[in-house]
Subunit: 403 residues, 2 copies
């Protein structure tokens, strides 16, 4: 895939690690059920969204964790941190009353469509916020609720019944696809289509890289994951992802969930650490360079930012930047960090992407979902499910009087 | 200090660790030069800002790392993620061309004041963005540049000369106060005052907690830091800060820089991991509960969010939340997580704050700056300076043709 490629200078893996992988059984629906996402009925999504896009300017995405991080990554990946024109997404994720208050206060309620996402249909935060939104809409006199909601949930969940009751569109998250692997299902594709990010392009990018990796046992993504596994076995219990781009901050948070929840089991697990260049050169780089050798590093370089600026021919302070482009500055700082870490003997992999497009986003998601399943296979853990969080949920429920 | 207190259930430290600390020499200008920040001339700040506040609605804060994270923490801590009314701050931090483009496009240039912050006066990102902003202002025909700039930098730096040349206000960052310890100097106080967050309250909160800790060798903050040191020695190389509040996300990023850059030296260092509840229950909690026991945990509970909502008496789905407040939900989830981790034998400290006020923010900053110096003392590293990042900077400069 031309526009997403690895530079693995100095990163190798042992032949015996590679041999541990039964490659032929990996790319199956059983091991990688998210592959099924690539056959969803995008046509139906696009038809449903066309109606909503004619009427509404904003979408509230009501969901948390795997139901929200993927679409947040797409949205920021394509439109950056401050989308200027056109339809917008708002994310109602946390049950922080102050944050909810601010979004409710600034929301244009009458030009908004509400997309509720929860696989179980009973996620505490999502159900709470859904109830509040419903209450607020009724209080404001809305009677056409069925026109303003889209539900995305598992079949036969409470949200399925509510969607039927309201007569609102319902899209199913198949049983076997966990939240953190769901970004290329309706969970990510519906809000994406609302803001004109083409679902076909997202899924197409994913399919292309899947094809590429599945046909090459020594694909760089596989070698890299084997090397990460070896570093983990050798005591590097932290894995850093540091894109040099503000637009990829959310993507690294999406990856944090994927890596942490899928692998953190049975006393095993590698802690993912998100960082953003150049900002975190002023924050974490000292620790990376001069602290303990307990980390694996993945950098992401974006070649073309879509926008650029040329610095004036005569600058105030720092003559050597005169006439340079801003992208020259961020690239030079990126290279400085990578080279310095490599010189210091730290394991550094670089992912280079040509430009943030829907195809590239789809490829990035798929690449990292595949890597996660490969890592789980090597570590001997089941990447699906999250049994460890059940105790806390029970305690919370009891505190709320829910027995 | 009534409104900021620790719950250290189960967290103890060994008497010999406590004995390692020469408490009498700790709270001196030499060990904690940021104490000097508490005597800055706030009156001068307030007078300067009064003029700007009469004319301008927005401030661009141009700075990176220690010159930006502190004020970002204050701004989000007090006003949340979406300040609705009144004067606003915009942060120009990274040299990401797309992000700069978006801020430039949406900025109301004629109603904006520009606050440029760099201790060295030669920070690559800040100088680049400053040059761009200056170019853009001239291009737009602004002739009253001296009325629109405030400079905060070290004495005798390039920005000092530029400020004199433009006739713009200049505030000094004293030589001995590093960026990550500078939030209660003009660096944080000037932008704070612009958005009506009282510098006296910020500094007052800091002074109060400083007084409290310095007079009690067995203050909970000291015991906690000793316990963190012991956990570090015993192989817990990761330290998690997880506030249950969207408004404290930036504060935990500020702490990440403080902890990482101050302690990550000479092969030593503990990696700080930021998280936000309840969001990261759906992201990191599985790893925390069921992964390796390689972490120390600090949770922050905010008792009063300032806003709240009551759920309807009859809810759709989850009967047990009917009639509950949203703050009940977030508190129950917080307690569920803390109890589950404690039951699992993980080291968990809880910081409880009454409500996010300027006094509380000032106390939080000071508390964590003191803890960092104490940790550095125990680990035997110098908390100031960041020698490890020099190589990368040199490589970047060379790539830009700056020899």
């Amino acid at each position: 895939m031309g526009y997403v490629r690895y530079d693995l200078k100095g990163i190798k893996c042992l032949p015996e690690t590679l041999k541990k992988l039964d490659f032929s059984s990996l790319f199956t629906r059983e091991k990688m059920p998210f592959i099924g996402a690539f056959s969803v009925h995008i046509k139906e999504i696009k038809e449903t969204l066309r109606r909503f896009k004619e009427i509404y300017d904003n979408m509230f995405v009501i969901g948390i964790g795997g139901s929200s991080l993927g679409i947040q990554s797409i949205y920021e990946g394509i439109y950056g941190k401050h989308k200027i024109t056109g339809r917008k997404l708002y994310f109602l994720e946390n049950v922080d009353p102050f944050n909810i208050h601010q979004i409710f206060q600034s929301a244009p309620w009458d030009r908004t469509v509400y997309c509720v996402i929860s696989k179980s249909g009973s996620t505490l935060e999502t159900v709470s916020i859904f109830n509040l939104v419903l209450y607020e809409m009724k209080r404001r006199g809305f009677t056409d609720l069925y026109k303003r909601f889209i539900f995305i949930s598992g079949k036969n969940t409470p949200f399925y019944s509510i969607a039927k009751e309201l007569g609102a569109p319902f899209f199913e998250i198949p049983e076997e696809i966990g939240g953190r692997f769901s970004v290329l299902t309706p969970v990510g594709l519906i809000p994406a289509d609302f803001v004109d990010i083409d679902p076909y392009a997202l899924v197409g990018g994913g399919m292309e890289i899947l094809e590429e990796i599945s046909q090459n046992k020594e694909h760089e993504a596989i070698i890299l994951t084997c090397a990460e596994y070896e570093s983990y076995i050798n005591g590097r219990n932290i894995n850093v992802m540091m894109p040099y781009s503000d637009s990829l901050r959310k993507f690294s948070e999406w990856w944090v969930q994927l890596w942490a929840e899928s692998l953190g089991k049975d006393g095993k697990g590698q802690t993912p650490l998100p960082a953003v260049g150049t900002v975190d050169q002023h924050s974490l780089l000292q620790l990376f360079m001069d602290g303990p050798d307990d980390k694996f590093y993945q950098f992401i370089k974006v070649e073309n930012f879509g926008s650029d600026f040329i610095l004036p021919k005569k600058t105030q302070v720092l003559d050597f930047i005169a006439g340079k482009r801003i992208s020259d500055i961020i690239h030079a700082e990126f290279e400085g960090t990578v080279e310095a870490l490599r010189q210091g003997g730290r394991p550094v992999a670089v992912l280079e992407v040509s430009r943030m497009t829907p195809e590239v986003m789809g490829a990035l998601f798929t690449l990292y979902m595949v890597k996660t399943v490969v890592m789980a296979e090597l570590m001997g853990v089941n990447p699906y499910g999250q049994p460890g969080v059940e105790i806390g949920k029970k305690i919370a429920k009891r505190k709320l009087g829910g027995v």
